[in-house]
Every structure is written in structure tokens, then in C-alpha cells.
Symmetry: C2
Subunit: 337 residues, 2 copies
């Protein structure tokens, strides 16, 4: 079966291809009866415009790339839903790229993004360097980084939709101080080191202001099969801090299980908070406290920001605010007093 083109439709409807093109693109200069004739021809032949040819002719692909660490999949699910839903509204196609840790595959991803001539890029703040942003910037590809706050940069055309995790941690620690809780631990998550750093910065700052030094950053090397295995050992030797903070459910539940099996009780012996919320925190006993993060909205806002950036050139009325901070709230559950 021959791929049918705009020429075939033109012949079938006995018009020129220009007219067919007009019908496709809803140009209102075409007479009603010819429009109908063309529509019928399109129907009859099952014609679908070739987006590739359109892309070439318009220098616009109506496609945006999304780049995500391959292990972050389950954790970014809701953000992705937000991204996809808004993309659908604006009729954007999505090219999806994953980066694997270790070997810097980010280079390859960037390469294919540039070759694909996508109109814009959404980056998760997992794993990329400023240099890599610089490359995308040279090729004039607008991008939005979603997740955590990125450092000040002089790269143009970069948006950022974020939560201020540093502030979150800072406030949390100060709230602890107010309650007289000063023995605070933070469990490392190797999957998202940039977020860990921001949390740690916030905690450090709070401690410093108190004239103290934060020293309970719980880290472990890869020789442990899992954080649970490590923590089981850990709690044999020492008791949990008064307040234990983790980033993801896995670490939180590992802390909970390991400590319970070591004879500790939550929240009587210590309190536990997991920064990133998900349903599993409610499936364990006691339920683990967390933060209500507007994940879906972050995705939706990020994609909407990107679409705005894509039309910014043509539509230079007012400067676009490209730094959007999202808000959160604390979800108090049984794991804290």
C-alpha cells in the first residue's frame, strides 16, 4: 500500500495541493463546497498529514523531549502525568529519554535531542551538569528543569519549576529545635544526590545558626545489599536519633523495619519523617509522616511554562517568569508525636 500524500488527496478532490493544505490547517479562505470535497477525499483515502514533512517545512516539530534518570521512573510518575496531560492539551508529542548512571549517557541523549530538532526539553533535576545545559543552550533549545532548585546560572532560556528543599529541611530542623529535639539524622539516598545536598544544606544552616554542627548524615557504601541490611547492622550498634529524616519511601521503611526489629518503637523512641510522599508510607505501621508535594501540578506547570517559552519570541509582550516555586505542606502521621 502506497503511502498516500497530499498530492493524492489533491488529485482525488480535483484541486491543487495548496488547497488541501489550507483545508488541513483550517485556513478560512477556502470555499465551503471545495472544503467539503477535500474533506471527503481525505476521508476516502484515509489521509494523515506527514508530521515529518510538516516539521521540515515549518522548522517546528511540535515535539518536546523529556529526560529522566532510568531508576527514577516510579518516583516521577505523577510529575510525568502532569507533563503528559498538559502536553496533550497543546498537542505536543513527547520524546522520551532516559539516562543511566555511571557512564555519562547524558551526552548521547543531548546528541539525539539536538538531532531530533525538538522544540523544547523538560529535564528532571536528577543528573546533568551545567556543561550539558550549556550545550543545549548553544543550540537554542528552550528547557525547563523540574524538581529542585537549580543554582543561579547565566544560561538563557532555562526555566525551573521547583520545591525549595533546602528551606524545607531548614524549617523542619528548627521546628525540632523548638520542641527540644536536637539529635537529628539524615539518611542518604544515592539515587538523588542533588536533592540530598539541598536537604543537607538546609540542615547544616539550621545547626550553624544554633552554633552547632550537624554530624549525623547516615551514609553507607554499595557493599550493602540494601539500606535495610545496613540499617539492621546499624541499629544493633547504636540507637536511632530522636528524629530520623529520609528522602524516599525505601529508606524510611528500611529505617522503620530495622529499628522495630531492633526493639525500638515509633514514635516513642524516635520520630521518623520521609520527605517524598507516596502511598506506601500509609501501608506500613505506624504510618510515616511526609510532605504533601504537588507532583502532578509540578509537571503540569513545567510543561505549561515550556509551551509559553516556545512562543515567547513571537509574542514578546512581557518578560516571562521562569522561576516557579511550588508550595508544600507537612503531612503529620503516626510516626511523629
Amino acid at each position: 500500500m502506497k503511502r498516500i500524500t497530499i498530492y493524492d488527496v489533491a488529485k482525488e478532490a480535483d484541486v491543487s495541493l495548496a488547497t488541501v493544505s489550507r483545508v488541513i490547517n483550517d485556513s478560512n479562505v477556502v470555499r465551503e463546497d471545495t472544503r467539503i470535497r477535500v474533506q471527503k477525499a481525505i476521508e476516502k483515502l484515509g489521509y494523515k498529514p506527514n508530521a515529518i514533512a510538516q516539521g521540515l517545512a515549518l522548522s517546528k516539530t511540535t515535539t518536546v523531549s523529556i529526560v529522566m534518570g532510568e531508576k527514577m521512573f516510579p518516583y516521577h510518575a505523577k510529575i510525568l502525568n502532569g507533563l503528559m496531560d498538559v502536553a496533550k492539551i497543546y498537542n505536543y508529542n513527547i520524546m522520551f529519554h532516559t539516562t543511566s548512571k555511571g557512564i555519562s549517557r547524558m551526552q548521547d541523549v543531548i546528541e539525539s535531542i539536538i538531532k531530533s530538532r525538538v522544540d523544547g526539553v523538560i529535564l528532571f533535576n536528577d543528573n546533568f551538569s551545567e556543561d550539558e545545559l550549556e550545550v543545549l543552550n548553544e543550540y537554542q533549545i528552550p528547557m525547563v528543569i523540574v524538581g529542585s532548585k537549580i543554582p543561579e546560572t547565566n544560561i538563557a532560556n532555562v526555566g525551573n519549576v521547583y520545591l525549595d528543599f533546602e528551606q524545607m529541611a531548614y524549617d523542619l530542623v528548627n521546628a525540632c529545635f523548638d520542641k527540644g529535639v536536637e539529635d537529628i539524622a539524615l539518611v542518604e539516598d544515592k539515587l538523588n544526590l542533588s536533592m540530598m545536598e539541598q536537604l543537607k544544606n538546609g540542615i547544616d544552616k539550621a545547626f550553624e545558626e544554633k552554633g552547632k554542627k550537624f554530624e549525623k548524615y547516615i551514609s553507607y557504601d554499595d557493599s550493602y545489599k540494601s539500606s535495610y541490611v545496613f540499617l539492621t547492622e546499624h541499629f544493633k550498634k547504636m540507637k536511632p536519633s530522636q528524629m530520623v529524616i529520609t528522602l524516599r519511601d525505601s529508606q524510611a521503611i528500611a529505617v522503620l523495619n530495622a529499628s522495630i526489629e531492633a526493639g525500638y518503637k515509633v514514635p516513642d523512641d524516635y520520630e521518623l519523617i520521609c520527605i517524598l510522599n507516596n502511598k506506601y508510607l500509609n501501608m506500613v505501621r505506624p504510618h510515616i509522616s511526609s510532605y504533601n508535594i504537588p507532583e502532578y501540578d509540578m509537571g503540569a506547570v513545567a510543561m505549561r511554562l515550556l509551551t509559553k517559552m516556545l512562543v515567547e519570541d513571537k509574542d514578546k509582550r512581557q518578560p516571562l517568569n521562569k522561576q516557579i516555586e511550588m508550595t508544600y505542606s507537612f503531612l503529620k502521621r503516626a510516626s511523629v508525636k
Copy 2:
């Protein structure tokens, strides 16, 4: 900054664009010194071939679409990893589409797949009808369906990488019968009705062969906030079956929590199995038994099959086996005796 094209490179290297094209595509007919000259020009100008134009010239986009239900993201993460890794090996780009339940957005997805002129499609066996496959087939788009077994179809160009969930359930129930366990329940999962049906078919078949009828299909309507809420009520009124089977972790953990809180003990009072494995099954107590499903491999095999199908026309040596059944094994954990 002007988008630089193959012409710019040609001028810079003082050759024709044909030669540049040859260098890009590793044609070995080009002399070494001119190749180097061209390479240098490419470097200097930062030229990246326009994949859109290539796609138009070659009628080939080197892109495949992946279609998935938007809620299935966390559950298909590993399959997706397999898909992405193999796609990367073959240098395929990925267009990502999600379908939402309710309003049949699948139509829109198919529309954009056709327009995009992707070379092939990977479909998760979540939510699509035979009619929709038929449309893709009319447009000659090779596709591979991954997940569960699809019914016999006379649609050409369809591959299937699957687990035989019906057989799995059938074998499981018979194993129960052998142990004298005949009171078996299956908890519904509305997120994946096609898999549920296959499981139910297997159970029905085993019961029928025993001259009995399977009647404990535990279903609940959407008025319940969650399966946990429903099950909490449920176990107040009746005790768990000897063997409870669920599809996903959420239901399994809901059963576990609700039953424990109702005073039952696992596996003493009843046994529990969750078909789809994941790490959370090991985070609850007791650990929930499950099946070891080669998810990553399913993705990898599916993508590899698709790439083979894409070159099949040119390379018609032997018929390709497009029905690939994957194997699984039982993961016995503390939730069974």
C-alpha cells in the same frame, strides 16, 4: 544564530553536500583526507544532522512509539527500562504516549502515531481494542504487544511478548488443590482488567476440571476510597479464604493490613500471594510471596523483536517468530506455608 545545515559544512570544507552526507553516513567511498576535512568542518561549525530531514528523505524516522496507560507507570518501570536500553542500542528514539481511562484517548494516540510516521509501536496490554490495532495495521505500522497474551488475531505485523497468566493461575490453583486447599479468593484490580480476566480464566478452568465452581472473586465498587477501606469492612464480616491471590502490591498489602487488624495471622490463618512482584512485598511483615517475572527482559525482548520486524521486509530469509512466551518462577516467602 542560523541553524547550520549540510550546505554550510560543504562550503566550509569546500566539497559538495553529497560528500558531507557520505561522511555522516559512514560511506566508505570517501577519500581519507577529504573525510578529515569534512569532519573538521563539522566540528568547527557544531553541525548536527537534522533527523527530520533525514526522516523525510529516507521515509524512516528511526523512532518507535511506546503506549502505556498513565497509571501503569510505576508498575511497568522495569519493562520500560528493558525497552529503553535496547532502543538505545539500536539508536531508536522513543515517542511516549499515555492513555487515560474513561474517555477513549487511544484514538488520539493512534492519530498522532500515524502522523508521526514512527517506524513501529510498542503497546502495553492495558487498554486497547482490536479495532484500534486494525487501524494501525492499515497504516502498515509494525507493533509488538507486551504484557499478557493477546487473543488469536488475523492482523498481520503484530508481535506479542507475554507471560501466560492463565496458565500461571491454573497451576497455582491446582497446587492448592493438591495441598487440600480449596477455599481460594482472587481480589480484583481495576487497573488491569485484561490481566485479571486471564487469571480468572485459569482459576475457573482449574475449578471446573475439579467439578467445582470458582465463586470468590472479590470485587468492590468505586464508592470505597481504597481497597484497604473495603477489605477492613470485609474482614469484619467474613474471614479470609485459605488462599488469597492479588495481582498488585497495593491489594496484597491492603489484604494483609486489613486482615491483621481484624485479628488474623498470615500464614497461619490464611495464605497470601501477590502475582506481580516488587520490593514493597519485602517491606511488609510477613514478606508476601510472589512470582519472579522477568520484566526487564520482557521489555528488552519486545524491543528487539520490533527491530527485527522493522527490517523483515528487506531481509526475508526466514519467518520471524512473533509470539514469544516468557517464563517465570514462584518466589516463596513467609506469607505461604
